[in-house]
């Protein structure tokens, strides 16, 4: 395609992307550098049905003046980024100096909300992504080998987890693993431990969410792999069969190299998706044991009654940076291949 045609072809998409993705990201970035103005408070008398007290309120007259002058708030630079609820540079330095062993240091650091969330997010990515790829590929291969007649219904059944809304899917599982749900109660019987609860143990909650993640994301990998498998040329496969190659050897040396670009694509997309893990935490009411970066943003925006825009914006920006770092190796590799191909 000539460059000019490509430009006109891409223009509408590009504009929409700038408008709906680019600009909001820039605006979020700007917000993350600002904090609220210093609150001017005053002592007043408050009366309610239970009596009167002297208490404090925000002085609206003075505050609104300051707000009008600088509606964005007080410039804070990277202040929000390095505070205790985010990168916590100061605290980490303190822990490093005060703790006696490395283990203690790690304990202290992982107790900070941002690192706690980062560790869960990364663990989730590291366990879910490869398993999704593997499971998706195995299902695609097996379904590809099934007779055509029953393939349709089987494919439909396989992609069901993806069709079910994530929240609904996680809620269904949530009730099943309840101490009185079908899975929870049976596990208690099996383990002979009436206090066993999948929801109260941190490790078990993590495992549940990861298994849910694999269950939910595999169909996507499967669909893409299945489509790619249809494009594998039959001649080399037949030639390999004549040469006496085993099934595994055929997959390893013909099928995999052929669909390799698709594998990269699926890996990229799932990494991105998984890094933003959010719904299962809400669905499983797992806030207590598992927090992800996306959940932190949500928490800043809704859980406080006071909305922490600066905090939420800073975490959003760091999530974007995090995704960029995670994807960098794959992107660099793709770029290199693209260069050599040219």
């Amino acid at each position: 395609m000539p460059n000019k045609t490509f430009f006109w072809f891409f223009l509408p998409t590009g504009l929409a992307m700038i408008l709906f993705i680019g600009l909001p990201i820039i605006s979020t970035g700007i917000q993350s550098f600002y904090a609220q103005h210093d609150q001017v408070v005053k002592e007043v008398k408050k009366c309610d049905p239970f009596g009167c007290t002297v208490s404090i309120v925000v002085d609206q007259e003075k505050t609104s003046k300051i707000r009008e002058e600088k509606p964005l708030g007080k410039f804070n630079g990277f202040g929000t980024y390095v505070d205790r609820n985010h990168l916590a540079i100061e605290e980490i330095r303190k822990f490093w100096n005060e703790t006696n062993s490395f283990g203690e240091f790690v304990d202290q650091v992982t107790n900070l909300p941002f690192y706690k969330a980062l560790i869960f997010t990364l663990t989730y990515c590291l366990f879910v992504t490869p398993n999704v790829l593997l499971l998706g590929f195995i299902i695609a291969l097996s379904l590809n080998a099934v007779t055509r007649r029953i393939r349709g219904p089987l494919i439909f059944g396989t992609i069901l987890p993806m069709i079910v809304t994530p929240l609904v899917g996680s809620l269904v599982l949530f009730w099943m693993i309840d101490a009185e749900g079908i899975i929870g109660a049976n596990l208690q019987m099996l383990m002979d431990d009436p206090y066993l609860s999948l929801k109260s143990s941190k490790t078990l909650t993590w495992i549940t969410i990861i298994i849910y993640g694999i269950w939910h994301h595999s169909p996507f990998a499967f669909v893409v792999f299945y489509a790619a498998l249809q494009t594998v040329p039959q001649e080399p496969v037949e030639a390999a069969i004549i040469d006496g190659a085993s099934r595994w050897q055929r997959v390893r040396h013909i099928v995999l190299p052929h669909i390799y670009p698709v594998v990269t694509f699926v890996a990229l997309i799932s990494l991105m998706d998984n890094f933003r893990v959010f719904e299962p935490i809400i669905g499983f009411s797992a806030e207590g044991s598992a927090q992800s970066l996306s959940w932190l943003i949500y928490d800043n925006l809704v859980n406080e009654e006071v909305i922490l825009f600066g905090s939420a914006a800073a975490t959003s920006m760091m999530t974007i940076v995090g995704i960029a770092i995670l994807l960098a190796p794959v992107l660099i590799r793709t770029w290199k291949e693209f260069r050599t191909a040219r």
Binding site: A35, Q36, H37, D38, Q39, V41, K42, E43, V44, K45, K46, C47, D48, P49, F50, G51, S55, I56, V57, V58, Q60, T63, S64, K74, N76, T80, D83, R84, N85, E91, N111, P113, F174, D178, A179, P194, Y195, L196, S197, K199, S200, K202, F284, S285, A286, E287, G288, S289, Q291, D299, V302, N303, E304, E305, V306, I307, L308, G310, S311
Partner: protein, 406 residues
């Protein structure tokens, strides 16, 4: 004869307060939490909407919608049914209007005690009170010879006895869901211990002390007697636990007693469900509970005409003796003419015991938020009480700095 005629006329026209509110224009849009008493209240207000537009959103997620929706100009809602805690962010952002003029003009029948005044200005009109108090299963306690607990120490002892009897594995329940609910339990228990959240007159936190530690230890003891999934249980979930007969002692909102004691569910459990006041803790006099009011506020960013129409409709409900008489079971109404029934014991006891109202401080929401996430690991046994309280203070400080309170 004349007298009879007059009283007949009064019966016909006087009792129905519709005569008082023929609202000609304006549009009314209300945001409210979702529980039966509020539905009744809003329905009553709707009864006198006249020819005004009337819309209402009942949502348990009301807190998340309120500030953004009222910040818009014109605001999406003309009124918001708020409580002690949820009025604070509205005040902080200057999103609600003083009601003095409207109360003077249309507030006939509203009692002075219903008015929430801040700095001499009426900012809300309260219509019901709420608190968290104890519920118990009379049959279970009687069978095991346990007296109705008055303190949380007795609640623990009673629950242990019930567990030892083999009747119930997890005899106690309270809404310990990580986040807002859990923080609310901490606030109650800490106030019961006589604790203060901030250094006097400042926004500096002061919960990392002996009272804070005692509060956490008591919460942990109670959690140990609850269903192991307690960190995922909100008010609705423990209500279900109660109705399936798994629980004999419970701390729950007074406003939920209506649905707990209705005809749905096992009649035997319903019959044995009894209410009592909130418990005290650690030998304190005031209950480990907070008093709440629910009242209506009007959005600032909305036309005066809408505000007037909305006020008239809501004021009609907030001074409605008929509603109070018909729905006496649904809430502890602060409205004139309310005769407390058996379902209001909890709140009335709490008021008698001089329970404190939930602190209406501008920075309290941030403290509440920090508590909800930082004390979880202590309950899970992953860190010490001191460490948890230190974390709460640190998390609060960062947020308070960002919000300009420190």
């Amino acid at each position: 004869m004349k007298k009879i005629l007059i009283s007949l006329l009064f019966l016909l026209f006087g009792t129905s307060a519709y005569a008082d509110c023929n609202i000609k224009s304006g549009s009314i849009n209300i945001l409210a939490n979702d529980f039966p008493a509020l539905r009744t209240f809003v329905e009553t207000a709707k009864g006198c909407k006249g020819s005004a537009d009337f819309k209402v959103t009942h949502s348990s997620e009301h807190n998340k919608i309120a500030v953004p929706a009222l910040t818009a100009n014109p605001s999406e809602f003309s009124a918001r049914i708020a409580a002690n805690s949820s009025i604070v962010p509205l005040m902080n952002q200057d999103l609600i209007r003083p009601l003095d003029d409207l109360v003077k003009k249309y507030g006939k029948g509203i009692q002075d005690s219903q008015l929430i005044t801040i700095d001499g200005k009426i900012m809300a009109v309260a219509f019901m009170a709420n608190t968290q108090h104890l519920y118990y299963r009379e049959d279970v306690l009687k069978e095991l010879g346990i007296a109705v607990p008055k303190t949380y120490e007795e609640v623990v002892a009673a629950s242990e006895k019930i567990r030892a009897s083999g009747k119930m594995q997890y005899p106690y329940a309270a809404a310990y869901k990580a986040g807002w609910n859990l923080a609310e339990e901490f606030v109650n228990m800490y106030i019961g211990h006589g604790g203060e959240f901030f250094k006097a007159g400042t926004a500096q936190p002061s919960i990392n002390n002996a009272k804070g530690v005692a509060t956490l230890n008591m919460l942990k003891k109670l959690a140990g007697l609850s269903n192991p999934d307690y960190l995922t249980h909100d008010s609705e979930a423990i209500k279900v636990e109660w109705e399936s007969g798994n629980v004999a002692l419970m701390t729950l909102w007074a406003s939920r007693s209506g649905t707990l004691l209705d005809d749905d569910g096992d009649a035997k459990i319903t019959a044995a469900t009894k209410l009592t006041g909130p418990a005290t803790v650690a030998g304190g006099n005031i209950p480990a509970a907070t008093l709440w009011w629910d009242g209506f506020t009007l959005a600032k960013n909305r036309s005066d005409a809408d505000a007037e129409a909305t006020f008239r409709a809501l004021a009609h409900a907030a001074a409605n003796k008929k509603m109070v008489a018909d729905a006496a079971d649904q809430a502890v109404w602060l409205i004139e003419g309310f005769k407390p029934g058996p379902k209001s014991i909890g709140v009335i006891e709490a008021v008698k015991m001089k329970a404190k109202p939930y602190p209406m401080l501008p920075q309290m929401g941030l403290m509440h938020g920090a508590l909800g996430s930082e004390i979880v690991e202590f309950l899970q046994g992953k860190e010490s009480a001191e460490q948890a309280l230190k974390d709460v203070e640190a998390a609060y400080m960062s947020k308070a700095k960002e919000q300009g309170f420190l």
